[in-house]
């Protein structure tokens, strides 16, 4: 049991920190280059092979590791060293509850592909996210620099404001799915939209069986709660200080905001923490709103035991139960990673298209637009749920 | 699991440290933080007693935890008002030292 937890944790950490974070620096450069009609970074090579710039993350890491480790004069040395660690750890820890695969029965035991299957998984993510504030707070204070302090004060206000709206915007999702456990949410999205029996009552039963299955929407969170999806994406972007909310780092205003005085691997840790949080946001949105690991229209039962559409027989019939489960695991994990890549691409798209918000616009957006909208979302969701006859 | 006396001892210890901090330190913000520490120690006592009196199949009452939640709420309200007072005081006296705000002392 402990071995399974260790293996799952290692898989997540290696995948996120070792594969996704370096790839994201490459994606950032190449996607922005494509969007801005230029080529991007493509010079780093090993013996003349450039690999379209995929070696740049490696070059970046070597550069950051070999830089001089500067602590500014008059700065609090302990806090200055602690800040990047406090920024990076919650980003990686948030990945503990994101399910990258479903629940499978192998022999007598069940395997659920999530590092920590907590009942209140979503609350855990918010708690860890609220701890991530401290990284920027300590960084700004301990640098003994006016620009850092200003960036840090702006950042704190922004992050704690958007935490409130982030929590409220997911209450609608919580009401619809009835659970805070991310694995259960993903399992609940593994089917087509029922809307509490409303769709059946429309009289679609007269259609042939294939239309009844294939012409419905999959029961993803984004179809059940579209407003919550938009609000949650906005709030998570603001939490992560991604553009257009990157006031704390405002490159053109505050030098580099709260990490002005950071160089070398300390800056590398901050940078990596931000990219890992982009991956966390992508993973969260995939798990809550995009159906997680579920392949649309092919629920896990159908893949393992039912008749596949074109092949005509079930996977268990073709390959045997064990190999079928392994194939299913591969399919699910691949689907999850594909959806996550789509969400990462979306965040990069948003980053390079929108101008930066002004500080008062950021606060206005949170308190005057998103907060009332999220409360309205809760009321409307409750009203629709009662009207359609399903009160959990 | 440890005997509950140890948990209560920890709660008493934290409360004592909070009281000492509130009496000895002169910085207004540290006094407020000591009050928060005292509230936390009380929360710990609530939850520990809730565990031993109400856990188990017989009577699954969660009054201690509900009360701990209400204590956290009240602490949040108190911190908001307290810090607003700190800001107002510092703005007027330019010092966070409690000894400098002793005009009403006889």
């Amino acid at each position: 049991m402990i071995l399974a937890v260790v293996l799952k944790t290692l898989f997540v950490v290696v995948l996120v920190v070792g594969v996704f974070a370096p790839l994201m620096t490459w994606t950032e450069r190449k996607q922005s280059a494509l969007m801005q009609d230029r080529i991007g970074a493509n010079r780093a090579d090993i013996a003349g092979i450039t690999l379209i710039g995929l070696l740049h993350p490696l070059a970046d890491v070597i550069k950051l590791l070999t830089k001089e480790d500067v602590v500014p004069a008059g700065a609090n040395r302990v806090l200055h060293t602690l800040a990047p660690v406090v920024a990076a750890v919650p980003a990686i820890a948030a990945f503990a509850v994101i399910p990258y695969g479903g629940v499978y029965t192998i022999g007598a035991s069940t395997l659920s592909l999530v590092a920590a299957d907590i009942d209140w998984g979503l609350l855990y993510v918010f708690a860890i996210g609220s701890l991530a504030t401290y990284g920027a707070v300590i960084a700004g204070w301990s640098s003994n620099n006016n620009w850092s302090l200003l960036g840090s004060v702006r950042n704190t206000a922004q992050m704690i404001s958007y935490e409130v709206t982030m929590g409220l915007s997911v209450v609608g999702v919580f009401m619809v799915f009835g659970t805070l456990k991310l694995t259960d949410m993903a399992v609940a999205q593994d089917q087509t939209l029922r809307l509490f029996g409303f769709v059946e009552s429309l009289g679609w039963a007269q259609l042939p069986a294939w239309a009844d299955h294939w012409l419905r929407l999959p029961a993803w969170g984004i179809f059940l709660q579209p407003l919550a999806f938009v609000m949650f994406l906005t709030c998570m972007l603001a939490e992560n200080k991604r553009p257009p909310f990157d006031l704390p780092e405002a490159e053109s205003e505050l030098v580099a905001g709260y990490f002005t005085e950071y160089s070398g691997m300390r800056f590398g840790l901050f940078y990596m923490a931000e990219f890992i949080e982009v991956v966390v946001i992508a993973g969260l949105i995939t798990a809550i709103f995009l159906g997680g690991w579920a392949v649309p229209y092919l629920s896990q039962d159908v893949i393992l035991h039912g008749d596949l559409p074109l092949i005509g027989r079930s996977l268990s019939g073709l390959f045997g139960a064990g190999a079928a489960t392994l194939l299913c695991i591969g399919l699910h994990v691949g689907t999850f990673i594909a959806k996550m890549i789509a969400m990462i691409w979306l965040q990069m798209l948003i980053r390079w298209s929108l101008p930066r918000f002004r500080y008062d616009q950021v606060m206005d957006l949170c308190w005057k637009v998103l907060l009332p909208l999220s409360l309205a979302n809760i009321f409307v969701t409750a009203a629709v749920m009662i009207a359609l006859g399903e009160v959990a | 699991m440890v005997p509950v006396e140890h948990v209560i001892a920890l709660s008493a210890l934290l409360f004592a440290i909070g009281v000492v901090g509130a009496v000895v330190r002169r910085n207004l913000i540290v006094i407020l933080m000591s009050i928060e520490l005292m509230l936390n120690s009380v929360n710990l006592a609530f939850i520990a007693f809730n565990r031993i009196w109400s856990g188990g199949e017989a009577a699954s009452r969660l009054d201690g935890q509900v009360f701990a939640l209400l204590v956290i709420t009240v602490a949040a309200a108190e911190v908001a008002v307290g810090l607003a007072m700190v800001i107002a005081l510092v703005r007027n006296r330019d010092s966070m030292n409690v000894d400098d705000a002793s005009l009403l002392k006889w």
Partner: protein, 169 residues
């Protein structure tokens, strides 16, 4: 000594260390506030061990993630670097030391010499301390205190805004 007991003592040690750090850092208030954060997180860990899952998460979300950030925010905003130099008179530190020793002695005595031990707690029922059970009890038996707490928070918000705003001429 099972794993949970070891975890409890580790968290207890961290909590006490954080509390002592908060009271003890005389010149560096920010370090004191961060030590209090350590105490809050250790206490949340102890709540998890005692079966109070929702309260532990709320403790991290609200206490460590919002209230203490507000403390740090105010400290950074006021940005006074030379304000507190501890007890001005030696008498106060002696009083503090005596008080602390008495408290520690009492706590240790309480832990070791209590005449009758309370019974070992029963194993937890399913869903104990989860959000469903706590929520049901909160909104059935304690609905009036919850509403009053809402009003209290509203009063606190209005009060804080009134106290801290600058006079506009």
């Amino acid at each position: 000594m099972d794993f949970e007991a070891v975890l409890f003592y580790v968290f207890a040690l961290l909590a006490v260390a954080g509390a002592l750090g908060m009271v003890g850092f005389v010149r560096n208030v920010v370090a004191g506030a961060l030590c209090l954060v350590l105490t809050m997180i250790s206490l949340a860990g102890i709540y998890l061990l005692l079966g109070a899952y929702l309260v532990a998460v709320v403790q991290i979300l609200v206490y460590a993630g919002a209230i203490l950030v507000l403390f740090l925010f105010v400290i950074m905003l006021l940005n006074l670097r030379h304000d507190d130099f501890g007890a001005r008179r030696a008498g106060r530190s002696v009083l503090g030391a005596i008080g602390a020793s008495v408290a520690v002695a009492l706590a240790v005595l309480l832990a070791i010499w209590s005449p009758e031990r309370l019974a070992a707690p029963a194993p937890l029922s399913e869903g104990f301390g989860g959000y469903r059970d706590v929520g049901l009890q909160l909104f059935r038996d304690y609905v009036v205190p919850v509403e009053v707490a809402g009003l209290l928070l509203l009063a606190a918000i209005v009060g804080a805004v009134m106290l801290a705003k600058k006079e506009v001429d």
